[in-house]
Structures are given as structure tokens and as C-alpha cells.
Symmetry: C2
Subunit: 240 residues, 2 copies
DNA sequence: CGCGAGCTTGAACATTATCAAGGCAAGTGG
DNA sequence: CCACTTGCCTTGATAATGTTCAAGCTCGCG
């Protein structure tokens, strides 16, 4: 591994463990020790990080960039399950259950990761019982998000589902501006369609309609300026 | 609590902990001790066991009967997330995360439960580190099922989704017979519709069509005889 | 500046929801 | 034991909604 010419890479390395809330109960020394065990990788946009069904045997933490996790549906589409970004992790299932990856993970932009092997992770869990509880709590959070996803996929009205997605994105990838919230979209139209389980064209149409209604303004293809968040919230929440 | 006139209630009590795979690493003495801490409840069909948003503060194990867990969607429908039956449990999220219940749980038939309070559960986790790992593994399993649910809700073809549901039921509630697999349906047509996120009438129509095609035979409203499981599997898996 | 991927839009088509009417079955009370 | 009633299920017709196929456009990249 090349030595770094500036601090940045070094800092990133150190941050590996810091970035995961699950490890927050470690003291500084433990954190540094654990971080030093990490291995580092990077991926180009579009590169596959893990393949559905593959053995993974590592806890993978996203240090930089974002990635989508998806399963292939029987009819050949890709159903996106998660959009991971900085600080998110995956692979714990494979470490603990010993099963293979349930989904493919693909970089949406250049990605840097830190990974921890099974041994390191197990040792950590055994020596720090609190971590196990933290992991459970984190999983429960994720589970709850998943339950919400199922709930919203069960909603008949697509408007409501698209609204919900945009609001989620606004929260995670939005910046306040004088005009409204500027959402830097992590997914293309096709990506959003594959997240929602609908056709690409339908996403286009719905967004056009929302723009006509003055709820938002598209800024190129990779950003959306949310003008009337409240209206979206109403649409996503109340109206069917 | 009334003393029991026969062994059955007593046996059920003892089984509380035995029935949860998560506790399988306990030795017999620990198991009995833990079981003795349980409190027992029973519910009539249709009775609400927990309300979405309520404080629960207990791990609830189904000892007998079945129940559905659902969230209300913004448009007023109920989206069923889980069908719990004997041996399944819920409420751990509330114990560990301290948050309120994410869903309503309602008995589908007469139900008996054992519940464990926060203190007992915490003590158990602390004194048996293995249990924590088992809990994590169990959650991961559940998570994977949830991911599959999202995947299948993303599938456009309803035939495939209904097929998938019937196959799941066949596995969990089916008995082999000379003619085929007899599925004792835990849910009404409306229940299945609320599970799949579609209209009640559509479930009827699809089932009728499958009966016409000779894939299955309805046996009253509460059972289905699966004649050509293979055909269903093909429909659910390959064809869009 | 030009090319190509990804996006938008249109029109025809397929599917499902919705509304409405009728049927079957289980449980109730005479 | 039978008629009644109630709840759930089925079936039909119609309308709404999304998909698909096809064409043209735009953005963003080299």
C-alpha cells in the first residue's frame, strides 16, 4: 500500500471505524487498533463490489462514494433494495450467518471502502458485548426501514410512492437553498424506477407532472430542486 | 393464574423458551429458569395484541395460534408485514431500541403467548453472549425475508407474486396428501390482498383462474389443495 | 462540437382497481 | 331442523392507471 503524500488518505483510514455508529462505544485506543486492521479498496463507477450469491466474508464500510444494492427479479429487472452512502456498511450477514450475499452491490460513483475480516469482527463482538447490542439496534433500524419500504410498495398510488422517495432523498442528499431543497440524486431515472419497482418512463412522466404543478424543478438529470416540500409531504402522506 | 387441571398448560409454559431457536444454546437449567420468568396471555380471534405506536416493553412469543402484523398505509389500507405463527416472536425491537411498536399485531385465531420483560431479556443477553449473536442471526434471517418481500413486491406480474405467496404458505402451512399439498390458509382473501398490496377482488380472480388451469383446487375458503406445485414454481420464478 | 447514453413524450395496449350485484356458507334463533 | 341473517367471497362491467413500443430529444462527456 503506497504511503500517503498528504493527510487525506491517512485520515480516511483512521475514520473507518469512527464512521460506523455501531462502534461508537469503543474508546479511542480500541478504535485505532480496530481501524488498523482494516483493508482498503476502491472501485470505479459501475464496478461490481459484491455479486449476489457470492461469498463475502467481510464487513464492508463505505468511506467515500455511494453504491446500490439490488437483487435480480425473476423477470430480469433489478430490484434495488438499498442505496448505501458514506458511513453505511454491509456484509455483516455473511460474517455472522455464514451465508452468501443476498444482493449485488454496485458502485454508483467512485467508491472507497474499508473492510474487516471475520476474525477481527468476531473478536470485537466477543470482547465488547456492548457492540453486539449496538449491532442489534442498528439491524433493527434497518429492519424498520425495510418494513416501511414494504408498506410503501403496498400503497397503490404511485404519486405517493414517488413523493416518499423524493422526500427520503431530500433528507439524505438534500441541501437547503434559498429557493428550496436541492437534491443531488444518487440514482438515475432508471435507478429510481428499479427502486420503486415501476417503469422508467413512468418516473419521467410523474416528475414532469410534478414540475408542471410547480412542486419541483429538475436541474439537469442529476439533481432536483424541491420547491414545495410541504405539498409533496401531503401527497406522500395523506392522499391516495 | 388458575392452576392447571391437566399437563397441557404446564407443558406449554415450559416450552416458551424451547420454542425459540434463539435460546437453543441455553442448557436445560437455564432454559427452565428463563421460562419460569415468562408471563402468559391469551387472545381471542380478532383481538389486538399490540397497537402500532404503542409501548410494548416485552418480548412476545407465540405459543399457540397465529397473528398478523400490519401497518396502516396513508390511504387507509392495512399492509400486512408478517404472519406470525407458533414459535415466532416479536417485540425485541422495543426491548432493545426502546422505540414503540412499528406495527399492529392482531390475532388471526385464538392465541396464547409467553412474554418476557426488559430486565429478564437484558440479563439474559449480558450473561449469555452467545444469545446476542443468535439474536443477530435471527434478525438477519428475518431481514433477508423482508428483502425478498421487497423484491417480490417489485415484480410487475401479479401471477408471480400470488404464486410466490402460495408457495410460502405451502411451506409453512401445508400438509402433503396423496393429491397434493393441502394449504391451511392463515389469511382470508382480504388478508392475502393486504399482504400483497392489491385488491381483494383480484385475489379471487387470480385464484379462480389458477383453479380453471388445474393448478389448484379451493377447499372451502380456508384451504387450498395445491395440485401442480411445479407449475406454480415455474410461474413464480421464471415467467414474468 | 459532436456523439452516445439516458431521458422524455406519444399512442396503443394490457392490467388492475373500483363499483355493483349476486352467491355461498357458517352461525343464530325460532 | 330449518329459515334467516351476516360476513365473506365471486363475478361482471367499466374506468383508471401503468406498461410497452417507438420515435425524437437533451445532457453531459470526450
Amino acid at each position: 500500500m503506497a504511503s500517503c503524500t498528504c493527510c487525506s488518505q491517512d485520515c480516511l483510514d483512521k475514520l473507518c471505524a469512527h464512521k460506523i455508529p455501531v462502534f461508537s462505544s469503543l474508546d479511542s485506543e480500541q478504535m485505532n487498533h480496530f481501524s488498523s486492521l482494516a483493508r482498503h479498496y476502491q472501485y470505479r463507477k459501475g464496478e461490481t463490489m459484491v455479486l449476489e450469491g457470492a461469498d463475502l466474508n467481510a464487513l464492508v464500510v463505505l468511506n467515500e462514494g455511494s453504491a446500490k444494492a439490488y437483487k435480480l427479479t425473476p423477470d430480469g429487472r433489478e430490484q434495488i433494495l438499498y442505496v448505501f452512502s458514506q458511513g453505511d456498511f454491509f456484509g455483516e450477514r455473511n460474517l455472522l450467518g455464514g451465508r452468501t450475499s443476498a444482493y449485488t452491490v454496485e458502485a454508483l460513483e467512485p467508491v472507497r471502502t474499508c473492510t474487516f475480516g471475520r476474525e477481527e469482527f468476531y473478536d470485537l463482538l466477543r470482547s465488547n458485548p456492548d457492540i453486539a447490542i449496538k449491532v442489534i439496534e442498528e439491524l433493527e433500524k434497518r429492519m424498520e426501514r425495510m418494513e416501511n419500504a414494504v408498506q410503501s410498495m403496498g400503497v397503490r398510488s404511485l404519486d405517493s410512492r414517488i413523493g416518499g422517495l423524493l422526500l427520503d432523498f431530500a433528507e439524505k442528499y438534500g441541501d437547503e437553498t434559498p429557493e428550496g431543497v436541492l437534491i443531488r440524486l444518487p440514482l438515475s431515472r432508471e435507478g429510481m424506477a428499479n427502486f420503486l419497482g415501476i417503469a422508467r418512463e413512468t418516473v419521467s412522466r410523474k416528475l414532469s407532472q410534478l414540475e408542471t404543478d410547480g412542486v419541483l424543478r429538475t436541474v439537469g438529470n442529476k439533481a432536483i430542486l424541491l420547491l414545495k416540500g410541504e405539498e409533496l409531504r401531503t401527497m406522500a402522506g395523506k392522499i391516495g
